[in-house]
Symmetry: C2
Subunit: 253 residues, 2 copies
Amino acid sequence: MLSIVATALDIGQTALMTTAPPSVSRTARDRARAELTEEIKAVARRQLAEHGSAALSLRAVAREVGMVSSAVYRYFPSRDDLLTALIIDAYDAVGERAEAAERASRNRGVDARWLSVCEAVRAWALAHAHEYALIYGSPVPGYAAPEATIGPASRVPLVLLRLLADGVAGGEIVPGETPAMSRTTRSDLAQLRRTAAPAVPDAVLSRGLSVWAQLLGGINLEMFGHLHNVIRDYDAFFTLQMRRACEFLVQGV
Amino acid sequence: MLSIVATALDIGQTALMTTAPPSVSRTARDRARAELTEEIKAVARRQLAEHGSAALSLRAVAREVGMVSSAVYRYFPSRDDLLTALIIDAYDAVGERAEAAERASRNRGVDARWLSVCEAVRAWALAHAHEYALIYGSPVPGYAAPEATIGPASRVPLVLLRLLADGVAGGEIVPGETPAMSRTTRSDLAQLRRTAAPAVPDAVLSRGLSVWAQLLGGINLEMFGHLHNVIRDYDAFFTLQMRRACEFLVQGV
DNA sequence: ACAAACCGAGAGCACCGCTCTCGTCACGAG
DNA sequence: CTCGTGACGAGAGCGGTGCTCTCGGTTTGT
């Protein structure tokens, strides 16, 4: 997902352009097509939010839009393609939230920014449970994530990587002891550093991936019911956990 | 999921008894029924493993078993009930692996036992991707986990909680500084300690939940493709991350 | 002005989950 | 030992799904 992160965003955006043409369309037909495409997506997103991805029915969407089912296939070649469009939108939505949260707290410390991003991601997840499940839960049936998703999917990780870079540059994040790791892992981290987080040492990158796993893992545990009857005050618990994760990330201890 | 953990296992097991009667059945009909129930589950598990949960078709299962679809409804009142049976089996399978791994390394240190359990869970996940997605990915459509699943679902967490208790008792896990937490959270942790991990201080319980999130989060990242093109040597990376998580758990630093 | 591209409607195919009915057969009580 | 009851498998059927194809009508670029 983070692959070739530097150029991923551009790829993602140009890929998006195919579904949402550049502002003004030339012909009336094109404009109508763009509008209908967007309306179909909107209706589908509503149905997804209400009944979940498995219950997303192309026919039901068509009915609500006021078309016959076969007409929808002029816009999305298959149900999976419609789902893919929703996935991309979801990645973009949560990515935008994370970026906004980071932007809003930019002048504060790394820990405050980290916490702000975490809360933003969780808030979006709570408000869009089914969309969250779509992108961070199990992938749908035989569905393999197409190229067009990797750009949007990289937005949140990119925010965190920027945070790492800033924290290291500002001296807020202390590298700490570098754990022993295989040659391949070292090379993987080097590649990651090269594309998205220059000057961030292996130890910090490794801890960054840890807290990334902790963030998504924590939200997953909560949202998929694994903390049911264990934790009551989810809000407080999440904040506690993410604060603790931040200490781990920053102090390297 | 961890609710009333002390009695959860018993509940889970008696619940299982309903699907798998106590060894010898009285009548021939009962025996045939038990056998057919098991065969249906076996076929369904095969189809689940091959094509994923969404593609699990009651009709296809019936075909393979050699029955007509309506006959299967004599054994499982709905597709969701069949899925529930598979979920319980999956929880039990991964729970059994985790318990076996812990048992096999019982005489070693907490870190070795922790790593052993982590590797066991991940190995099971890799070998049973669709079943893993079923229990630790997004829950299926409108499906809400029934009571009968909480027992089996608690097995892996119980292994880890025992590990915490042992580590604290043996002095291998140092409590460290207790983070500030809300009254509710403190009470949640107290409840958890009361039911499954006596004498384990809040700080350690909190870190335990962190590494639990890190374990599942890490496996999720890997299995759901979020590390694609980022990490190549998944084995080494996972071990590195879990070793690091263990340091965090044990040293509390 | 016209061919080509595009589009919506409709019918249809194979599949799905699930329900209902009906004949059969094993079981247990009398 | 008989007989009623209940479990069982088969089959037909209902409404739903994804997807394909064909057929007219409209829009577009030339």
